[in-house]
């Protein structure tokens, strides 16, 4: 079982990102479970979601204590001590940040976990669609984790936003593709 935790701030689409990954993982062939953990809706408050990819039905509903992957929709989430709970050298991090991974690694050096960064905000801004940053980040995660392919992610985006305009789906798919492209190049 692969356990993933996504952290960010209220309003950034952390829960939606987890739901998209659950759809993508399912399409790719995993049993998936996405479990948000949030409180009364407050923009800017810490939000996280637990996500499981497994080869058999997942029964547990316990929050993820020791994630294999940590995805941060903003590097600001690092200032919340809960974000890094249960992270050790076996965990891998993907952070939406304009800083490079070396700068961030120095900041959280004691973790000894592998850190990837992607400037997902820039990808989304370049597409004139700031809300597509998470799609870029998930594209990047597909590339660095190798656990799902870009096609599954893009069809998950289409399914999740099926009641939205076609244009919005396409922009998010484009963002995912660009995030995938940037990190694929970096890790292969």
């Amino acid at each position: 079982m692969i356990e993933i935790r996504i952290h960010g701030l209220g309003g950034q689409g952390v829960v939606t990102a987890a739901e998209i990954l659950a759809l993508a993982g399912w399409q790719f062939g995993f049993w998936t479970q996405a479990m948000p953990s949030f409180g009364p809706e407050r923009t800017g408050a810490p939000v996280s979601a637990s996500l499981r990819f497994a080869d058999a039905p997942v029964l547990t509903r316990a929050p993820i204590a020791r994630p294999d992957w940590l995805i941060l929709t903003t590097d600001k989430a690092l200032s919340n001590p809960d974000t890094l709970a249960g992270i050790d050298r076996r965990a891998k991090l993907l952070i939406n940040s304009s800083a490079n991974s070396a700068t961030l690694s120095a900041k959280i050096a004691k973790l000894k976990a592998k850190i990837y960064t992607l400037d997902a905000k820039k990808i989304a801004d370049d597409l004139a669609s700031p809300l597509a940053a998470n799609s870029a980040l998930l594209g990047g995660w597909a590339a660095v984790s190798g656990l799902i392919d870009l096609e599954s992610l893009q069809s998950a985006i289409a399914e999740k936003f099926s009641d939205k305009k076609n244009e919005l789906i396409q922009i998010n798919q484009q963002a995912a593709k660009e995030g995938y492209r940037q990190l694929y190049a970096q890790t292969r």
Binding site: E19, T32, A34, M35, P36, V58, L59, R61, A65
Partner: protein
């Protein structure tokens, strides 16, 4: 792994809304409250999209919502509402009336703690606040079982002419996305059968909800209670028929160890078992599978009527039983433990009361390890698991 074509990743609330829509209720009335809100939002969406043809009543309060479904059920409509926590407390007067009038309302209770202090997270305090009202009370473990139980609830409500509350853990189930099999509305209609004649109809005028004087009251109250107590056979029959005829993507089933009332999970000859209800059962199953293969799990699926006889039989080979209570009764023993003890009165079973998970407190593998460590000890007081 069940990789059924029909399975889809659904948020628990969406799965429930799809099940309710497949039952084609005539009236849906609700007032929003976390963590129930997504369910009625989805039903409103289905109505707006034209896939659900019903009267969707946006009530000004929970009391109003409950009153609306009371009236609708009396007039012969399939009537549905959903609530949580303080919302249920607000409806409680009408909740008792619905049961006393023997009206077939179906309600989802997305379980949440009760104020004060205010807290929006999961426990079973709200369910315990309505346990004496006279409703059938079912508890679902997964999104799939929530679908199953809602469809079963409409059938049971109609056949028994009693209200049914389907309990689902707030957030843990309502907000979790996982594979489930969307119900086929035509198959559901076939399973539900034709609507029964309404309690109130102009062709046969009668009064509903009249005063019962001291000569009548006790008898009427006890007759309603007897109807609920005697429903266990019908519950099993309806669950069995449901799992025989409906496609659940092989995620849920009916068997000799998992009937409509209770599920036994784990080794047949276990000496120690833990009794739980709701979706935390999945967390326990995972933990037992991985770390405690000698311990069994008993999952209470039907809480009202309380399955006393079946529970006695299931516990007959046990030495220790730990009862998980996710609610308290201020000034007395935790409610589920008290009921289990009453049901098993006279047995030599060592029963321990474990209280945890209040207000959304995490039930982790460590919590379960602690419960198992204490389960075989003889402790007269409730054990509070606080990790």
């Amino acid at each position: 792994m069940p990789k059924h074509d029909k399975l889809k990743i659904l948020e628990g609330s969406r799965a429930i809304a799809m099940a309710v829509a497949a039952c084609r209720p005539g009236v849906v009335a609700a007032f929003p409250i976390t963590p129930q809100t997504h369910i009625v939002e989805d039903l409103a969406r289905f109505k707006a999209q034209g896939t659900l043809d019903c009267q969707f009543l946006r009530a000004e309060s929970e009391t109003a919502a409950a009153s609306m479904v009371l009236g609708a059920a009396a007039a012969g409509e399939r009537a549905y509402t959903a609530t949580s926590s303080q919302g249920l407390l607000h409806m409680l007067e009408v909740v008792y009336n619905i049961a006393g009038l023997e009206l077939p309302v179906v309600m989802t209770l997305a379980n949440r703690s009760l104020s004060a202090p205010i807290n929006i997270w999961n426990d079973l305090s709200d369910a315990m606040a309505m346990r004496d009202a006279g409703w059938l009370m079912l508890f679902a473990e997964s999104a799939q079982e929530a679908i199953d139980m809602h469809i079963i609830a409409f059938r049971l409500a109609a056949e028994l002419q009693l209200p049914v509350a389907v309990n689902v853990d707030g957030f843990l189930l309502t907000h979790t996305s996982e594979p489930a099999c969307p119900p086929d509305s035509d198959a559901v209609q076939k399973f539900l059968g034709p609507k029964l004649p309404p309690a109130l109809q102009t062709s046969h005028p009668r009064s509903l909800g009249t005063l019962a004087d001291t000569e009548q009251f006790q008898g009427l109250k006890l007759a309603t209670a007897a109807k609920l107590t005697g429903a266990d056979k019908l519950i099993n029959k309806v669950f069995a028929e449901y799992y025989k005829t409906m496609d659940t993507g092989s995620l849920t089933n009916y068997s000799s160890t998992n009937n409509g009332l209770l599920e036994w999970y784990g080794p047949k000859k276990a000496q120690t078992a833990i009794l739980v209800t709701g979706s935390v059962a999945g967390t326990f199953k995972t933990s037992l599978q991985e770390n405690h293969p000698d311990i069994a799990l008993i999952r209470l699926k039907t809480f009202r009527p309380f399955p006393e006889g079946d529970l006695k039989k299931l516990c007959s080979g046990l030495k220790n039983l730990a009862v998980l209570d996710r609610a308290i009764s201020n000034g007395a023993e935790a409610p589920l433990t008290a009921e289990v003890k009453a049901a098993l009165y006279g047995s030599n079973l060592n029963i321990n009361s474990m209280v945890c998970g209040l207000g959304g407190k995490t039930i982790s593998q460590a919590t379960i390890a602690q419960i198992i460590k204490m389960a075989a000890k003889k402790i007269s007081k409730p054990i509070i698991i606080d990790l």
